[in-house]
Every structure is written in C-alpha cells, then in structure tokens.
C-alpha cells in the first residue's frame, strides 16, 4: 500500500528566544497528528544537521541579527517553496531590534566590557558577526506568510499548519496579533 507523500517542513531559530519553537512543541498530542502528514526534515527539535535542497514549507523564528542569520534566511528562501515568518521577532524585529536604537559598538561594550568583571573584552572568535541593524526576515528575503505573536500560541500555529495542509492560505490576522 503506497503512502501519500508527506509534506516536508524545515524550521530554524535565528535571533529569538526559542519561544516560538516552544509554542510549536506546545501542540502536544497534535504533534502526532502532524507527524502523519508532515515530515520535519530540519529543525532545532530534530537531529538532522543539514537543510535538504528542496523543502515544501520553511518556518523561521527570530530576527536577522548576524551574518549567520542572514545566511540561514537566504538559504531557507532558496530551498523552501513556501516561507513563513513565525512570531514577532521574525515579522517585525521585536525585542532583538530594540538594540537598533544604540550604536553597535556601544551595545558590544555594554555586554562584554562594562558589565563584565572577569576578563572583560569583546569576543573575537566562535560568535557570528553582528549586523549593524537588526532586520525582520522579509527585509532580507521574500516571505510568503506572516504569523504575529510573542510567541504565537500553539492554537495559532495549529490553525496555520492545518489550513496549509488543506491547501488553503490562512489569514493569521484573524486569530493572532502583534504582542499576542
């Protein structure tokens, strides 16, 4: 008996608090229902280390704050047929973007020099380069759907995913909003 081809889903966590992914996990028993129709091929919550070349749906949490975020956002756009900005950080920059009000050098000094007693100094390796300005995802690549919320509730995520699985384009403004 042939099984209907599953929808492939990839998610990534850029500059955010992981709250959107926690909300995704809050789908609880619905995750089992989801797993029957959807194959999570790349995500912080699965073990795969590389994003496949072609994915049906990509979900990005978090704002674009580093060179690494920028690279990931571009890679997701390239390889995902349908790209979703999940949560206020991805949609508007949200809390990470509040550093835009300050000069980046001042921000780095505040974090790594002024408030540090042991070995103050900016890190020179192992950390991705910070962009001068934090941006929402759609300011660097085209995004197909915007799901606001900080974080969007599990019910919101479920509604978006079930609509998409049914072949419809959901309107998240009907059930979520900025700051929800």
């Amino acid at each position: 008996m042939s099984e209907a081809k599953k929808i492939t889903l990839a998610t990534a966590w850029l500059d955010g608090c992981s709250g959107c992914h926690m909300s995704f996990l809050d789908l609880d028993q619905r995750l089992i229902e989801l797993a029957e129709k959807v194959d999570v091929v790349y995500s912080p919550i699965v073990d795969t280390k590389a994003l496949p070349d072609a994915v049906d749906v990509g979900i990005l949490e978090g704002a674009v704050s580093t060179e690494e975020d920028l690279h990931k956002a571009r890679m997701f756009r390239q390889r995902c047929q349908f790209l979703i900005s999940l949560g206020d950080c991805a949609v508007s920059g949200n809390v990470p973007s509040m550093r835009n009000m300050f000069d980046l050098d001042d921000v780095l000094d505040r974090a790594f020099v002024e408030n540090v007693q042991a070995q103050p100094g900016r890190p020179s390796e192992s950390l991705p380069t910070l962009l001068r300005t934090v941006l929402p995802i759609h300011h660097v690549v085209q995004v197909d759907l915007f799901v606001q919320g900080c974080p969007p509730s599990a019910d919101t995520i479920w509604q978006v995913l079930t609509e998409l699985m049914a072949g419809n384009t959901p309107d998240p403004t009907q059930f979520t909003r900025f700051g929800a």
Partner: protein, 247 residues
C-alpha cells in the same frame, strides 16, 4: 403644580439630512460629522486621533472615507454630512491607505508590542489587527526618542507616541490646564509639557491623569505598571464634555 419639561439649552436650529453610508440609509443633523453618524448607526470606521468628547483634530487620516462624486478620500471625523451623500467606508483603496498609514506609524517609532505596558490594551495594536496590517514593508527608522519619568505618578515614552494630540486636547478642553502642547515638525514633532520642561517640574499640571487615560498607546502610562498591565478608561470624556456644555 407640575411644570412641563423645558430643555435648558435648545441650541440653534439645525436641518436634518438623509444620506447613505455603505448602503445603509441614515438620517442625521447637518452639523454631525460622518464619523459621528456612522458610529451612532453602528457602522465601524477605524480612527485613532478622534475621541468622543474632544475637539476634532483630523491628524491620523485613518477615518478616511470616499464620497461619491468626490475624487479624493476625506476624513470622516472632520467632514459634516450633507443631503444625499453616498459614502463608502471600506473600499479596497481605503483598506490599502489605512494599512499604509499603520505601517508608517509602526516604522516611525518603537512600537514593539510584546514588552509594552499597554500590550493587549492598545488602540494602535488593535487597529493593526483590524486593518490586517501583518507586517511593515517600509524600513524601520530606529530613531531614539526620550522617556520622561520625572513626574511622581506618570511617565511619557515618546518612542510609543503617535502624536494624536488627545493628551493636548483633554488637558486643555476638559481639565483646563493646558500643560500639554506640541513642538517640532514632521518626524521631530512631539508632545511637550509646559515649555518643553520635565513633566515633574510642570507648574500647570494638576496630576489629574486624564492625558494618561485618553492616550491610545503606551506613550502615557501610570508608573509601576509592567508589560500588559496598563489598562485605560476614556469613557469619562464624553460625559465631562456634555457637562461642560450645560454650564
């Protein structure tokens, strides 16, 4: 002996006109604004700077409506009704304009809802949801505005101000103190207390808090409120305005 009821102030005679708002036939006094007539008839027109009981300002442009035979949209709050008007409140063009206005407001200053004391009780946030503004297409300005916490009870965060001037009007027209006013132009426009002095040093402020209650966003807030805790109640304004007129 009983006396027949006598109106204390019958006011000047006004004509009654009939007009159409979104296919609803409505009657109104010719001195009424389109926005007042719509609201009285249960027809929703989005608005931000307008507040029942205060003078009309016409700054936010969210209440723009189309009148048949008039090429440009007009603001419903500052346009009075006339006989036979046919008004559209929610065309595709108006929806597009409202969305754009909201995007520009969100891009101009810091309107990060998640950490705002007014989260969940904010008219700007509600309008974004109502008008389907799900993302901002223009670049964010990332400008820094001041926060004045010098007042004992209240705080003004200019980063969250939309310059609707409700605070200016309620302070002048209802409280009679005129502590608030406006200075600067364009994106530098901001509300000020006295002659741009710290609010806490203001000689004219009576600390009545009316400005805080009418502020549609988290710009004017009570001190000591955490994210989402600042609930406001502006329903006293039409009542006080009515009482003032009777005097």
């Amino acid at each position: 002996m009983t006396h027949p009821p006598v109106a204390s102030n019958p006011g000047p005679k006004v004509r009654v006109v009939t007009l159409k708002i979104d296919d609803h036939d409505v009657g109104a006094r010719e001195t009424d604004s389109i926005l007042e007539i719509a609201h009285a008839n249960g027809i929703r027109i989005p608005a931000l700077c307008y507040l029942d009981g205060l003078s009309t300002w016409g700054a936010c442009r969210l209440c723009m409506v189309e009148i048949e035979g008039v090429s440009k949209p007009v603001s419903a709050c500052s346009t009075t009704a006339s006989e036979g008007m046919k008004i559209t409140t929610n065309s595709e063009r108006l929806k597009r304009y409202r969305r754009m206005i909201l995007e520009l407001l969100f891009a101009e200053r810091n309107h990060v809802c998640s950490v705002c004391v007014s989260n969940g009780h904010c008219e700007l946030q509600d309008l974004a949801a109502e008008c389907g503004m799900d993302h901002v297409r223009v670049p964010y300005r990332n400008a820094t505005y001041n926060i004045d916490s010098s007042h004992d009870l209240f705080r003004v965060d200019h980063n969250r101000c939309v310059v609707c001037t409700r605070c200016v009007r309620v302070c002048d027209e209802i409280e009679g103190a005129h502590t608030w006013d406006v200075m600067g132009r364009g994106v530098n426009c901001q509300v000020i207390t006295d002659l741009n002095q710290p609010w806490g040093d203001s000689q004219s402020c009576t600390s009545c808090g009316k400005c805080v209650q009418v502020c549609p966003t988290g710009a004017l807030v009570k001190k000591g409120t955490a994210a989402g805790e600042m609930e406001k109640h502006d329903d006293f304004v039409p009542y006080l305005a009515q009482m003032r007129k009777r005097q």
